[in-house]
Symmetry: C3
Subunit: 214 residues, 3 copies
């Protein structure tokens, strides 16, 4: 039996952490795919979508809870405890901000999704797909080049999101004369942009884990 296999038998907790993180990031992908359908959905379809997103959010909460419970009851962990904590929290935050943005989109009865908002959602989706790939690579840190590519991609999407966000907010203030609409749309933009920030936070933990295990 190879030593690393032996370790795995002795420390079955590791497997759980990998699985939980994959569950969490797969759940994010499902949320992001749903979010992408929101701009084109009719007002009557929105409620079902928002409820579905709320289900994903509850599912995410439950996964995060499992990770924390496992962390608190496990003595030996595959990565630093702090990294597990921060990664789980960042993934949870991505879902919270997606859910919050979708919820506000419906709650505020936004008539039409601005083009910039649909673009921002696309970028967020791309970032989450990439992040999901990065999380699945945690099981084999020898694939460090692949992980590096993920980190770079998530970084690029974050910069793209920043730039879409800034243009969108500038245009909003320039063209939208109804201050109530400005408040509503700005809040949704901030939520989506924060979700991409949290993807980057999650990717930063992947990088930290990679460096420590290099």
């Amino acid at each position: 039996m190879r030593f690393d296999r032996l370790i795995k038998v002795l420390l079955p907790h590791d497997e759980k952490f990998y699985s939980f993180f994959e569950e969490s990031s797969n759940n994010l992908v499902k949320g992001a795919e749903l979010l992408k359908t929101l701009p084109a959905a009719s007002l009557s379809e929105r409620e079902a979508l928002v409820n579905k997103m709320k289900d994903f959010e509850h599912e995410g909460d439950s996964i995060t809870h499992k990770i924390f419970a496992e962390l608190n009851s496990t003595f030996v962990t595959p990565f630093d405890r702090e990294d597990i904590h921060v990664l789980a929290s960042a993934l949870d935050d991505v879902m919270d901000y997606m859910d919050g943005s979708a919820g506000r989109f419906a709650l505020y009865k936004v008539q039409e999704c601005p083009k910039d908002m649909a673009k921002l959602i696309d970028t967020l989706h791309s970032s989450i797909v990439e992040l999901n790939r990065g999380v699945s690579l945690l099981r084999d840190l020898r694939q460090s080049e692949e992980i590096q590519k993920v980190l770079q991609k998530v970084n690029e999407y974050e910069n793209e999101a920043d730039s879409i966000f800034e243009n969108a907010i500038a245009a909003l203030f320039e063209h939208e004369k109804d201050p109530i609409k400005v408040i509503k749309l700005k809040e949704i933009y901030v939520g989506l942009e924060t979700a991409t920030d949290k993807c980057e936070d999650a990717a930063n933990v992947l990088e930290a884990i990679l460096i420590k295990h290099a």
Copy 2:
């Protein structure tokens, strides 16, 4: 002398941490009780209430400072250092958001407290009373069922607060035509809702401590 007593003599620091956390959560109860009087207070009474809240906030800062100083100068702590840090910070945050909300309520010269805001304050108060009970249970972690009840209650109050908050914001955008008032009231609602979030953060630390010492 029983061994756990002996430990206590050798480690008098433990006692300090329990006392400081109780001071902190008792202080929150005082703040929440004061906050409950704000909706019915006349404009002329408000200033005194807000000043009193500021006193509680300073008191909270001083307790938090004592906890951090004790933590930094103590080698052996009754719980994980990280948990002590996060719990102290979360309790401090609850007070900061209560104080900020009360301060804005006066600063923004809100003429009348909306009913939803009074309801949100009631829910926050209930959550803080429950949290205070949970903190006092830290001294005897064998009462794990009682602590579990606290956690469940704080969770329920947080969900209740979310729902009050969402309805309130929807109603605000629906009925309030003055955008300046929307901005002001929304900010106070966000502050109060964030205070209940921070109660949940604090309760999550209690849960983590419970799991580790199970």
Copy 3:
């Protein structure tokens, strides 16, 4: 060879951490000095200033990245790992909020910088200069009285900033009738005030380090 010198030879990493933190806080001083020129700059000069600030922000990101990489690849650190992490993050946050505020100032095409905003920038600048002094004192923690003075000063500046902020927001709501302008200016004020909060967070880490090494 004195023992502490020997340690330094054996642990050249320490030197790097001190240098990186000094780089980071020097970079903040440069940013704050630039920020001070913004209120008096003409609309046409602003773009160059904002671009320069963005350069400082990228520089700050790169320093923070070096600190985290060093932290993750170093086993023995001059202070607690957690303190290094929180200090680096707080310094990074100060820059992010300065950059964000400057960017919004230009993006929102604010015609004239309100006097309170210029005052808040001055206070932020003073706090950063003091913080920079505190960071340079980390190399010799025996100068604890000097560090204490820094902490007190940063605290005073934070209180000053709070008070300027509250007055500014009250005045904004009182006198500005255009809700769009209220939204824009309020957001910039919040960014600047948050930057001073982050200075205090950084100073709190200095205090924690001081207590632990007393």
